[in-house]
Amino acid sequence: MASISLEDLCFRYEGAAQDTLTGLNLTVADGEAHALLGASGAGKTTLLNLLSGLLTPTGGRILFDGEDVSALPGRARSVAQVFQFPVLYESLSVADNLAFPLRVKKASRQLIAERIDVVCEELDINHLRHAKPRTLSLFEKQLVAVGKALVRPEVTLVLLDEPLTAVEPRIKWRLRQSLKRVQADLGVTMIYVTHDQTEALTFADRVSVLTTEGILQTDTPEVIYQSPSHEFVGHFVGSPGMNFVPSEALGVGGAERVGFRAEWATLDPQATLRGRVLRERVQGTRLGQRYGLLTIDTAHGPLTMRGALPHVANGPDSSVRSLVGSEMGLRVHRYVAFSQQRKVAEGELV
């Protein structure tokens, strides 16, 4: 395993007028689970291909454990990759698929058997050893693909390209758990590329938010979420993204705009930040009360809060009525303040 560094990494496609990636700097520690979070068009795939050696940088360097690998082809870098959909050798059994990267390198029989045992044990796929890929579910296939990426003991970096895309939403978390477990157990350096903030924040030790402007912020999921360094990060991370209002609206000085998350506000009919309720999105119940998102159309645009939604019992036949259309206010408890889109302060409001 190894630490990965990008130094002023640039890439421009042949004949293109602009760099797709400009001056990227990033260090991923040995054994770290790192996520690159970005919208489509932010250059995620390009960066992935640069790391795997499919593309060669047009500027800057890529270092694996301090060693410049920028010019090395993929096969010389000991990088493994897991793709959006499971990529396996279809004519080979699961065990032969796992053995493939080792056999190619002429590993000893004993090492191959050992590594297959380790990987099967770790991913809990012992029962699939003799199956052919086509008899497996997408979930199982992707587990095997992960196993194939981890089987070589000398792999320095495992790249994950939105590996949960093809897996059903309801069981994504199980694959993610398996990934996290092997990552921690084997101490593998992993870079996980995704547009999905849930994936990025739940998987990674640290997250980098990538845009066409470069990497805006690299930090732990907690900091990225609670304390975005840039308005875009606040908007892009979290569902829904951060609410933004002019700083005067909350009486915060020394900044242009103030951002707050949906759960940093509570409903208060007396609050000054008020308006008509635009929509409710119920997501279930908590302690018997409806729970979810409520959007109020204020003078500063629609603002959304998350929390318990009070029952409005204003009919004899129905116990639950929607708040939509009624007047409501928001009390904000926490904020992050921005000037020229960059974070300048954060704090609590009493």
Binding site: K180, T202, P221, G238, E263, Q283, L287, G288
Partner: protein, 322 residues
């Protein structure tokens, strides 16, 4: 009103009485058909659309039966998971294509195209070709085209699965308002329980070709008819214990790390934490309770790590017994 009767999604394979069902889809409402992959969602759509499918059943719109594929194709508009548009037509021509078939005047067509394109936020792109659009724009175009048809039934087969996360979030809200305004029967299939809440006025749960429950999302959520129904509308899964031959199940968001105030008889469980995940909005604490894998879902982030021992609390009212 769209009624389906005597529907059997897997004739030949699974013909017994439980496999045959009826359902009514009301106009002006979005009905989310929720089920895992291969649960029969797409078969149901294809049956309603009159497309080739193994599913069988009677389809009846506003009291009139839809016989034969051609009448059905006129009454039904469909949006697919893949972005399906005419590649050689501009955005405007794509939207106009179902209108031309109805011999409207050029002025009428123009007006309708501009109106739909405005509502879907693609009015500045009318002269472009589909391949010049982003994924989100292409899917907006497909939706605009389906709506231009003024079909009485609009089928959307997982239309947002291939879109970026943030785009999807925005389009979900727009789509909900747009579809309500259309006032037609809207059927939206999904395998994601979040869609049932964010889009659905009604939800129909399908499991292995069977209808297992239907109703308003919150009602199905609070009163699941079966364990499987509870599971289908749970994220990421359901926690359960076997007690005296009774299956006691509780949703991850109803298990709490803090004691519940004013709860006379709180239930208590001991959990050994195996993993902790957070997406900022919410945290998921995975662990073992007795011999079972449990998940606690709570809002915000928590100071929890693998290996911790936690006492969990649940209110008796939130436990469902089967």
């Amino acid at each position: 009103m769209l009624e389906v009767e005597q529907v059997c999604l897997r004739p030949g394979e699974d013909d017994n009485a439980e496999a045959v069902f009826a359902h009514t889809f009301a106009p002006g409402e979005i009905s989310v058909v929720l089920g895992a992959n291969q649960s029969g969602k797409t078969d149901l759509c294809r049956l309603i659309a009159g497309l080739n499918t193994r599913a069988r059943g009677n389809v009846c719109l506003d009291g009139q039966s839809l016989t034969g594929a051609s009448t059905r194709q006129q009454a039904v508009g469909m949006v697919y998971q893949a972005f399906v548009n005419y590649p050689n037509l501009t955005v405007a021509e794509n939207i106009a294509s179902p209108l031309r078939a109805r011999r409207l005047s050029a002025a009428q067509i123009d007006e309708r195209v501009t109106d739909l394109a405005t509502r879907l936020g693609i009015v500045t792109l009318l002269d472009r070709f589909p391949h010049e659009l982003s994924g989100g724009q292409q899917q907006r175009l497909a939706i605009a085209r389906a709506m231009a048809k003024q079909a009485r039934v609009l089928l959307l087969d997982e239309p947002l699965v291939n879109l970026d996360f943030k785009l999807r979030e925005a389009l979900e809200i727009e789509l909900r308002e747009l579809l309500h305004a259309a006032g037609t029967v809207v059927i939206y299939t999904s395998s994601d329980p979040r869609d049932a809440f964010s889009l659905g006025d009604q939800v129909l749960l399908l499991d292995a070709g069977h209808k297992i429950q239907a109703g308003a999302p919150l009602e199905v959520y609070t009163q699941p008819a079966s364990f499987r129904a509870m599971e289908l509308l749970a994220e990421p899964g359901v926690n359960y214990l076997q007690q005296h031959g009774v299956l006691c199940a509780v949703r991850p968001e109803h298990v709490r790390v803090q004691q519940i105030e004013n709860d006379a008889q709180p239930l208590q469980f001991n959990m050994r934490v195996t993993a902790y995940e957070t997406n900022g909005d919410e945290s998921f604490i995975h662990g073992r309770v007795e011999e079972h894998d449990w998940v606690v879902r709570s809002s915000g982030m928590m100071p929890v790590a693998a290996g911790d021992a936690l006492t969990l609390y649940a209110s008796a009212g939130d436990v469902v017994r089967f």
